[in-house]
Amino acid sequence: MLQAPPPLAVPGGAHPLTGSVAELVWLLPVLPLIGFVINGLISLFTSYHPGPADPSAPHDHDAPPSPPGHGASASHAAHGHDDHQPRRSAWHVVVSIVGPLVLLLAFALGVAIFVAIPAHMQSPFIRTYFAWMPVGTDLPLHWAFQVDQLSVMMVLFVTGVSALIHLYSVGYMRDDPGYARYFAFLNLFVAFMLVLVLGANFPVMFVGWEGVGLVSYLLIGFWFNDKANSDAGKKAFIVNRIGDFGFLIAMFMIWANLGTLDFTSVAAGAASLPVGGVLLTTICLFLLLGCTGKSAQIPLYVWLPDAMAGPTPVSALIHAATMVTAGVYLVARTSFLFSLAPLACLTVAVVGAVTAFFAATIGLAQWDIKKVLAYSTVSQIGYMFIGVGVGAYVAGLFHVLTHSFFKALLFLGSGSVIFAMHAAYHHTHNEDDAQDMRNMGGLRRYLPVTFTMMWIATLAIMGIPIFAGFFSKDEILGAVIARAGDSTMADAHWLGIPGSVILYAVYVLALAGAFLTAVYMTRLMLYTFHGPNRTGEREREHLREAPLMMTGPVVVLGLLSVLGGVINLPAFLRLPAGWTGGLDRWLDPVVGQAALRLTHGVAAETPHELALVGLAVLVAVAGIATAVVRLKPAALVPKRQSAPAEGVERVLEHKYYVDEFYDRTVVTPVVDVSRNVLWKWIDAGLIDGFFVNGSAWFLRGLAGIGSWLQSGQVSAYAWAIVFGLLAVLGAFTLR
């Protein structure tokens, strides 16, 4: 991968990108990989063990001043006070430069490739680098990257958002003892994410898919001294394995039936399979299983809220903006399969709609600011699934894009809040929860920039007009109504229910989810930034806005959250032709055909579009109003004085007890079966007891007989000889 390969022939003459900057596409993942190697080596050779002051403990109030070499004592955040200032290693500067720089370079390269792509480029630009795992002639697995409009779009936003979050992390993580390790992992993540989006066949994509899962695990458990954090990492990893099983089975089935795993060849081969047949539907459903794991959808969403145990920039980058949208990307990338299986499409949409609504209800009752955002992420990815499920691939990907802006912003903003809260608590050696909204309140006076930017992102996620989320969410909702009227999905029956009914139900769920989104986001903002401050008398004076290194990226994301909608303005705005539907036109060569196939070959028209948009906005405003009227930030008391919740709220706060349910129905039985059957019975009993010790006992018994025969008494031998002789003679005589 490190060497530029000899160019291979492109079928159908020279590709327009041949010889252009797109030849350097291999450099995209390699750049962050270089960053990973440099930062990783620095981390290895400058590592030191956490001293008596456990760095994972949020508040180490009894810790002595950090001795030289023990570095920071705070995990979540820094604190701007001299006697608390840890000594940093000289390599700190190198890491701070290398970490973000490789991302900025990758982003620049992505932009260059984007510019080089000519309008209406119909076929993808594929570069094959080397035979990776050639299995005979049947399975020639090549390491190949694919440049097309979809992958370039993903590259741009992955590298762009990553670069911003890397810059933010320079400020956020500056006092962490694992600073170099953190940046090494973050760089590695981007490298794998780029492999995921650039892979030209399923296995290469799967490498990226698994790679980001690995880094996700490493970063969730970044502060591994705390067992809860490493448990959360393991949970994410294991739950994702279930999804990966689906991905693998889908790959096997594709190869078994089509004999190839390249996206272009599969797209060509799939057209010959029966439309809506069992085979295609099964393949797509297994792919969907993979997507629900990686993208945290029902039933495999449970790992994402726990993943908030990682550093907040990680939550922003991996668990909100990029990695968790990989499932949406996969559905869009394999749209040539999904569009041939209307039932699978309906399933995707239903999974998305149920998740969008379900996660939003949980978000209503969470107190941890990051948990609210985590459920919000699950819910928003549900919307993306609705989009790509109903065949509105552009709308789904558009929401991926805008969501990555405003959700990264929300997480980084909450990071600034936690940073300030933690610093304040650290100063006064208070051990209260720095992430609990009951301990916040009135922060707008102390964090004005964060406050403004968070409100922008909040309005964007609610779908208030002119903000980015408005355009993408409305496009998805409109697409559902359009497909419910006339599409192959509407004609199909899902579990005996007509597809059109299902799609209308999806719309209603999505609309209800939008209402709840407005409620829980307003709740978050009200409790965090408005009302009286509940942090504590002494802590209050230490609440400070984050440094410029952190507010800078936040402001850039704020601008993107406002303006992000520009890239795909809807037609009803009646703007000049060049202004609307930019992303539609851009992605058309990749997903246009598949989208048309689901709508009987005619472009989907949304009836009463303006009315629907008005309804969606009305619902969002109603959500804000409900929250403002019903919630009383002034009546809230800090966490340590709060009474436990009652009734419905209690159920929601405990997330419908789904974790407990999974624990009872899956985890406990698996553990019990493993312990009692596999371990105690099969391993200890059957294998150790019967086969290993049993064979020994059998042979010992056999040897005992031999030993008993060998009595040493010569006369006994003589008797045996005589009887043997008599027996032989008798046998000969009587024969």
């Binding site: 031999g706 009595s711 006369s715 005589v722």
Partner: protein, 97 residues
């Protein structure tokens, strides 16, 4: 003449066998083994009447070898006696498994 000789030969052999099987004194067992050898010698002699002199030649060989064997055997028994102060085979079971 020959059948009688063979009968006595068999009788002598069985006496030897029973002696070997039932006695525990090494010397007596040794003597019984000699009895068995000589029972076979008797058969050889008797059958040489029917099949020629080669049987008698065989007997000479057997007696020569038996003499050597008894020399070695008695030496071993004496060595065992010196070590164990007994020639009772019940107590001599060094090869017990």
């Amino acid at each position: 003449m020959v059948p009688e000789a063979l009968f006595f030969s068999a009788l002598l052999f069985v006496i030897g066998v029973v002696g070997v099987l039932t006695r525990r004194n090494a010397i007596i067992i040794f003597m019984c083994v000699e009895l068995m050898l000589n029972a076979v010698n008797l058969s050889f002699i008797a059958l040489s009447r029917l099949y020629g002199a080669s049987g008698q030649v065989f007997v000479i060989f057997v007696m020569a070898v038996a003499a050597a064997e008894s020399a070695v055997g008695l030496a071993i028994i004496i060595a065992i006696f010196r070590h164990h102060e007994t020639v009772d085979l019940k107590n001599i079971n060094l090869l017990k498994g």
